[in-house]
């Protein structure tokens, strides 16, 4: 962080980004599982992949979902002005994402607990379709922020702010990234269960989704350039190492998948996504809403920021080990249906 000492507000922004990263990786993968469920084919053809997806998702999706609450809470507590501006401008995609969250969660929970096939189908459809739409709208929100379309005073245009090339592209990128992460995680889970058929099934899908995500990310850079966006210069300057890192992770995973090797798949996939998110953060630094509101301008008073930092410290001590325990138990299949 070179020349400028990191302020409390910067630290809170870093916490916000950490939450966003964890949500994008784990929550994103859960949404991606929904996409593969959606396009798995008819009840008979899609039975095995759907069962695999359900087994992997069931014990973790609710815990992963809490990162979204974490992001909202940190945003409104540490950066209330940015939260108000975001919410009063991008309320259309945000409301649609909220509806998607309801349908996704309820659809998934209900589907597991009912028996009649038509009802299961309906619930499954609610789960799977909203698993695609929700990350799309969230991506559109992020894209609109990166595009510099959210005015600091809020009440920006309800539609033109996000019905624009960069937000729509970012929405698609979110969907593709989730699908890519999900497919990679499912490859590893299938391998653990020695299910070669599903391993190959998801490996092919991981390659396809990885290529799609890579292409969308590249297209995003071109759109940034065409818009003469603030973030473009910084992304290819300070952010360049992260862009390169992401590309290398993406290439590495492609090579591993094509060779049929399985080593390092998960870390590489996670690395590719983490690098993109932090690349975005670096690119729009020091703005929270480029180029109308900086991190410092929108920050809450010092004691509130201290509270957020303390809460995050406690979370790191309490929540992360608990999450680790949950992941460990579910990987060992000590929890499951």
């Amino acid at each position: 962080m070179g020349r400028r000492a990191m302020s409390k507000a910067d630290a809170c922004a870093a916490i916000l980004w950490t939450g966003a990263t964890l949500y994008a990786v784990f929550g994103g993968a859960d949404f991606g599982g929904g996409l593969w469920d959606l396009i798995a084919g008819g009840a008979e053809k899609g039975e095995r992949p759907r069962a695999r997806i359900q087994r992997s998702l069931t014990p973790v999706w609710e815990a992963n979902h809490v990162w979204l609450i974490f992001i909202l809470v940190v945003l409104w507590t540490a950066f209330p002005e940015a939260f108000g501006a975001l919410m009063s401008t991008l309320y259309v995609p945000l409301a649609l994402a909220a509806v998607g969250i309801v349908l996704r969660g309820a659809g998934f929970a209900f589907r597991k607990s009912i028996e009649s096939l038509p009802a299961r189908r309906a619930m499954g459809a609610a789960f799977a379709i909203s698993s695609v739409l929700t990350p799309f709208f969230m991506g559109a929100v992020v894209g609109a922020v990166a595009d510099g379309s959210v005015p600091a005073e809020g009440n920006g245009d309800a539609f033109s702010t996000w019905l624009a090339p960069l937000p729509l592209l970012t929405g698609a990128l979110f969907v593709a990234t989730g699908a890519y992460l999900a497919a990679v995680f499912l490859v590893v889970d299938s391998r653990r269960d020695a299910d070669e058929e599903m391993e190959g099934y998801f490996a092919r899908r991981a390659i396809a989704a990885g290529l799609a995500a890579g292409a969308l990310a590249l297209a995003g850079i071109f759109v940034l350039h065409a818009d003469a966006n603030y973030a473009y210069d910084r992304l290819l300057d300070e952010g360049l190492p992260l862009v390169v890192l992401s590309a290398l992770c993406g290439l590495g995973i492609l090579v591993q998948l094509l060779r049929g090797a399985r080593r390092g798949l998960r870390p590489l996939a996670i690395g590719a996504v983490v690098a993109v998110i932090w690349g975005w953060g670096v690119a729009q630094f020091p703005y929270l809403l480029p180029t109308s509101l900086t991190i410092g301008e929108s920050a809450a008073p010092g004691p509130t920021l201290d509270s957020v930092l303390i809460v995050f410290g406690i979370a790191a001590i309490v929540v992360l080990p608990s999450l680790g325990l949950l992941y460990w138990l579910s990987q060992k299949e000590l929890v499951g249906e």
């Binding site: 809490v66 609450i69 809470v73 108000g84 501006a85 309820a106 608990s322 929890v335 499951g336």
Partner: protein
């Protein structure tokens, strides 16, 4: 341009009403599930503990079945709670913008509690197959603690809206300094938090017991039904007298600190001593119509003496008086009435149990338990109506009016209509799923998989 001004004013008033209705509806839906999230774990673990301690297979199976039901209610509660987080910003952006740095602190803490609860709830619910006995029991205990912590955080945020403190405003009304501990431990937390926490245990206890009472009324008198009725009912009945004591304290605190809310909910028009307590009736500017009056009782309840002076609405500026006084008054009376009736139900059970070590044998007892769950939910809603409508026209008492906080976005009535449809489907789906689960259990579907028995087939 008077016509345009009038139009804008009408639009903003309509937005305010739509936003308030939407918030009330979604909160009313969520709060029932939140009660289950807070209190159901303790009920389940009580059955689990009994099962392990006494080697009671029925109690263990109840704990297992309840945890499966909780998996579904918790999932729906998690998403309906997320909707509320969005709504804070979507419906009240000006409120969050101005006061998020104070109001938000409690929620930051809630985030941790909710996280840990979600994690251990998952471990507990999906641990029945492979975690063993007491280790499994202990994996569930964090749910109880985090449920209490989560309830504290959320309710103290609401308490802060009622009695805000711990912040300094500049001339423009912007928060420039905060004292987080003052925010968290505001003057209203010490009665709002226990009142809601106990309400959660009452709602969860009576609700679960009512399901088994209905089953017993239909002739299912097996041991499982008896236990399924008794465990949650006992917990709820123990909590009820404490709740009435806490509620009584809360009412006095409100009389002291939020006199407008108190005057509205008790229909007190003129400040003075020797206030009449009105039971029921309709509030009008000239007093209460159609109520049962008890002279002096209101003053007596507020200050333990009929000489106690109670503030009337005449001393509250007209633009700071809560709306819908009849609604407030009847909600308050309904809450108190249901609480008292549930206290009577508990006394009935305690008396018969003391004499005969058994539940009362008359079907009227089962009928009473069967409606107690719905009654507890109604009391819960009434209590929140008193708290929230009674705080109006303020969103932050004394500092920000709700009309200043509301969004300028259009289409809130459409959103309201859409959410009503969505939540109706959600609620119906939830009930259907729970009924289908209980039907399968009745047909003995899970009997094969005895908890902690010999490892059964891998198929779930």
């Amino acid at each position: 341009m008077p016509p345009l001004d009038a139009l804008l004013l009408a639009a903003s008033e309509s937005n305010l009403l739509a936003a308030r209705e939407l918030m009330a509806f979604t909160l009313g839906f969520h709060i029932v599930l939140a009660c289950l999230g807070v209190a159901f774990p303790a009920i389940i673990l009580t059955a689990h503990w009994l099962g392990l301690k006494r080697g009671d297979e029925d109690a263990l199976r109840l704990a297992q079945r309840w945890s499966k039901a909780m998996a579904v209610t918790f999932a729906v509660g998690a998403v309906s709670g997320t909707v509320l987080s969005f709504e804070f910003g979507l419906l009240w952006p000006r409120f969050m913008e101005r006061f998020g740095d104070a109001f938000g602190i409690a929620f930051a803490i809630e985030g941790i509690f909710f996280f840990v609860e979600a994690i251990f709830l998952t471990i507990y619910i999906y641990g029945w197959k492979r975690l063993r006995g007491w280790a499994h029991f202990w994996s569930g205990v964090p749910m109880v603690i985090t449920g209490i912590g989560g309830a504290f955080s959320v309710v103290t945020a609401n308490a802060w809206m009622n009695q805000p403190q711990g912040f300094t405003l500049d001339a423009a009304g912007k928060v420039v300094e905060t004292q987080p501990l003052e925010v968290l431990f505001n003057p209203a937390w010490h009665y709002e938090v226990p009142h809601m926490l106990l309400a959660a245990y009452m709602v969860a206890g009576f609700l679960v017991a009512s399901v088994y009472a209905v089953g017993m009324l239909r002739g299912r008198r097996d041991r499982m039904h008896r236990l399924g009725l008794l465990i949650p009912l006992t917990i709820a009945c123990i909590v009820t007298p404490v709740q009435i004591f806490v509620g009584d304290t809360a009412a006095r605190e409100i009389a002291d600190h939020q006199p407008a809310k108190f005057a509205a909910m008790e229909c007190i028009q003129e400040t003075g001593p020797n206030q009449t307590e009105y039971i029921g009736g309709i509030c009008t500017d000239d007093g209460v119509k159609g109520a049962i009056p008890i002279p002096g009782l209101d003053s007596l309840l507020v200050g333990f003496s009929t000489d106690t002076v109670v503030t009337g609405l005449n001393d509250i500026p007209p633009d700071e008086r809560p709306p819908a006084n009849t609604l407030l008054h009847l909600s308050f009376d309904t809450m108190v009435g249901i609480g008292t009736a549930l206290l009577g139900l508990g006394a009935w059970l305690a008396f018969v149990w003391w004499r005969r070590r058994d539940i009362p044998q008359t079907p009227w007892f089962l009928r009473a338990v069967a409606v107690s769950g719905a009654a507890a939910v109604v009391a819960l809603w009434c209590g929140w109506i008193v708290t929230e409508v009674g705080r109006q026209p303020w969103i932050v008492q004394g500092h920000m009016r709700t009309e200043e906080a509301v969004t300028e976005a259009g289409g809130i009535w459409f959103a309201f209509a859409g959410i009503v449809l969505l939540y109706t489907a959600l609620g119906a789906g939830l009930v259907l799923v729970l009924r289908a689960m209980s039907r399968r259990w009745r047909e003995g579907e899970d009997v094969a998989e005895t908890p902690y028995g010999p490892k059964s087939d891998e198929q779930g």
